[in-house]
């Protein structure tokens, strides 16, 4: 049972990890994006549309090629989530509009569009088979050693997320690009004076962040749920949790790996633990209550290195001073 629980925690945690990494990247450039839930929905819709188009061209969905399936879903997912990110970026960076309001509008729009696309253009024929293919890991035998299964039974997207988190940590902390990105988030005027192209960095981080966040929704539908779909509001809820996770992980992608697995575990605790359905309803509150506790503790401790980027949420206009 512990093995099932851990596998589930890592798997569901990956949904949050993608969202969290995307949001972290944006927040590092000073953009609090409340549109993450919408962007995750858009990524889902795009990815599923890509898979739908691919499967439509095949006679037998079971004959789908693993590589093409992953590649097409990623490409279409990026296409959708990045266009949502581009709207957000244009409104907040170029037009310097209020970030919170723009984010909420993106969430309304994105979840609506995703629902529309999923209900209208995605028949999900053969998605069960495609989901199985995408979630295929190195160890697929349910009788294999528990430790092996915990670490190697996941699909491509789980490892991809962890690799991305490691890369992001390295780039943010060890490279010039990361240094500039952080400086843009802390004090764009100083970065600008130093010759850093503030606009480019903001756009870059918003677009890459959107693409990464979009994978979260795609992973949830195609890998975690193996191709089934109810509505956009589940993904939205994950999006909000992912934003909270950014604070939990103290704006560090490497911490977010463990944070997301913990949150994943908390989210599925209700399904794994024994108890009446009434007690389980209370257990489902755990991730939210823990988030609140973490928010409170980080605000009480006020350690300097654990603070959000200084200019988070503020627009940058060069002539302001």
């Amino acid at each position: 049972m512990l093995v099932t629980f851990l596998i589930g925690a890592i798997s569901l945690g990956t949904v949050l990890l993608y969202g969290c990494m995307g949001e972290t990247l944006m927040e590092k450039s000073g953009h609090l994006n409340l549109g993450i839930p919408g962007i995750m929905c858009m990524g889902t819709a795009g990815g599923c549309l890509g898979i739908e188009l691919y499967l439509k061209g095949l006679a037998d969905p079971a004959a789908a090629n693993w590589f093409l399936l992953i590649l097409l879903s990623i490409l279409f997912s990026i296409l959708f989530s990045v266009s949502a990110g581009l709207i957000y970026g244009f409104l907040t960076v170029t037009l310097r509009c209020n970030q919170n309001i723009t984010g909420l509008a993106i969430t309304t729009f994105g979840s609506g569009l995703a629902q529309f696309v999923m209900d209208t253009y995605v028949t999900r024929k053969g998605f069960g088979a495609a989901g199985k293919l995408i979630s295929r890991g190195f160890v697929n035998d349910p009788n294999a050693n528990g430790v092996l299964r915990v670490f190697f039974s996941h699909g491509f997207f789980v490892y991809f997320a962890i690799i991305l988190a490691v890369i992001f940590t390295f780039v943010l902390n060890r490279t010039r690009v990361g240094l500039h990105l952080r400086s843009v988030g802390e004090n764009p005027a100083t970065a600008d004076a130093d010759g850093v192209n503030v606009t480019a960095y903001k756009y870059g981080s918003i677009l890459i962040g959107s693409a990464v966040a979009g994978f979260g929704g795609l992973f949830y539908i195609m890998d975690y749920l193996k191709g089934s779909w109810e509505n956009a509001s589940t993904i939205e809820a994950f999006g909000w949790l992912a934003i909270a996770l950014v604070i939990f992980a103290l704006w560090k992608p490497n911490y977010s790996i463990f944070g997301s697995i913990l949150f994943g575990g908390l989210s599925i605790a209700a399904f794994v633990l024994k108890g009446s359905s009434t007690q389980k309803e209370l257990l489902k509150l755990l991730p939210y209550i823990i988030t609140v506790l973490v928010l409170v503790f980080t605000s009480i401790r006020k350690k300097r290195e654990n603070q959000p980027p200084a200019s988070l949420g503020l627009s940058y206009f060069r002539e302001d001073r």
Partner: protein, 397 residues
């Protein structure tokens, strides 16, 4: 241009510092901040954005319509859906009133830059308390008294849900945006918990109520709700504009430090304002349940907590202008249900897409309210800035 620069940052091998040094392509205009703007210009800009957004939506709906409708039908059906019958008109005003309630609950907090994203949760807790009072006490006491109890507990629950994040914000500076957001999910979870604990048989849904229903003044029991929230909105305007509390709220919102220096107790203002916010949100919850005795669900607030954010922001945090913004959003929501059936869209999400698009247009128009685009004059032609500088120089001489 923008796309190009964005791509550059994605290529880490390129030395980013160079991008600032390289002679770049120069835009034919530059952006200047407006110190102030004439009211008619502001109204014009907003009007253009709204009309533009609606035209865009109508085009998109027409393109994706399954029944081959044209953009003009979109506007026709929008009006038909909101004003077509007396019932539709009443529902439109009801929706406006409830949205107004949600917005005036949020507005005092927003004015002091407290991002209360927890409207849904606060309203839902109000719903829960009103519902459970009626569910357990209905029939055991006179209906008038029951209504009072329902009202009091809803308001108290709304206050509690707003007060928790407010206290932590005031004492520890805890991030209120995410705190209030999480409280939404906690509230929804609490409702689901009670549903699972109380409703053991049948559909597993909360049944509709028989007791504790507000008297209905009209056929659609909308008039009382409409009246209450319209009056409250005007009162909120007076409170924010003419009371000392309202003044303190706007000082705290403009600058926390100024507030401190002039001797305003910021903590007290934050807590007091959030109590007010929560109380009104709880009231909205009470009306949602007691208006018709509706059953409770975790989505009872119908996302008004978020819509309220947009409407109060659209109104520039002015309660009187909120009559317009709430009416407009309610008009769109009600009208879109008609457009949907007429245009052959099978799912309700189309309304969200259209509203989202219109939000984008209105949000982006704030750029033109706050900034001015000045085109670089041809050589010899002087720009505003040049003239200003020249005048200054002359003045010195």
């Amino acid at each position: 241009m923008k796309k190009k620069t964005a791509d550059r940052s994605t290529a880490p091998e390129q030395e980013p510092t160079q991008s600032g040094v390289k002679s770049r392509f120069e835009l034919p205009f530059h952006i200047v901040k407006r110190p102030h703007i004439a009211p008619w210009k502001k109204i014009l800009i907003y009007a253009i954005a709204l009309v533009g957004g609606m035209l865009l939506s109508s085009l998109i709906c027409a393109v994706f319509s399954k029944n081959g409708k044209n953009p003009l039908d979109f506007f026709g059906q929008l009006f038909n859906g909101s004003f077509g019958t007396p019932r539709k008109s009443w529902l439109l005003f009801l929706e406006t009133a409830l949205l107004l309630g949600a917005s005036i609950a949020l507005i005092p907090a927003f004015k002091m830059k407290f991002w209360n994203l927890g409207g849904n949760g606060q309203i839902l807790m109000g719903c829960l308390c009103a519902y459970s009072c009626s569910y357990w006490l209905g029939g055991k006491m006179p209906d008038g008294l029951l209504l009072l109890v329902m009202f009091a507990t809803s308001v108290a629950a709304g206050i509690l849900w707003a007060l928790i994040p407010a206290l932590f914000k005031a004492v520890f500076g805890t991030n209120e945006t995410l705190f209030t957001l999480m409280m939404n999910y906690v509230a929804a979870g609490v409702v689901l918990y009670f549903r699972s604990a109380w409703i053991k048989n049948g559909s597993g849904q909360f049944p509709t109520l028989d007791h504790g229903i507000l008297p209905s003044l009209d056929k659609y029991s909308a008039a009382l709700t409409v009246f209450v929230f319209f009056v409250l909105t005007v009162l909120m305007f007076v409170y924010l504009r003419y009371s000392k509390h309202g003044y303190e709220i706007s000082v705290v919102g403009e600058s926390m430090n100024t507030a401190k220096y002039v001797g305003i107790d910021v903590k007290k203002v934050v807590i007091r304002t959030m109590i007010l916010s929560g109380a009104i949100a709880g009231m909205v919850g009470f009306f949602l349940i007691a208006r018709t005795g509706a059953g409770l669900s975790d989505t009872s607030p119908n996302n008004m907590g978020f819509t309220g954010i947009m409407t109060s922001w659209l109104a520039g945090f002015n309660p009187l202008l909120m009559f317009l913004s709430c009416f407009f959003i309610a008009f769109l929501t009600r009208g879109m249900t008609q457009v949907r059936t007429d245009f052959g869209f099978t799912n309700s999400s189309v309304a969200n897409i259209v509203i989202g698009l219109i939000y984008f247009c209105v949000i982006s128009c704030t750029f033109f309210v706050n900034y001015k685009i000045v085109f670089r004059g041809k050589s010899g032609e002087k720009t505003d800035l040049d003239r200003k500088l020249a005048n200054q120089v002359r003045g010195v001489k």
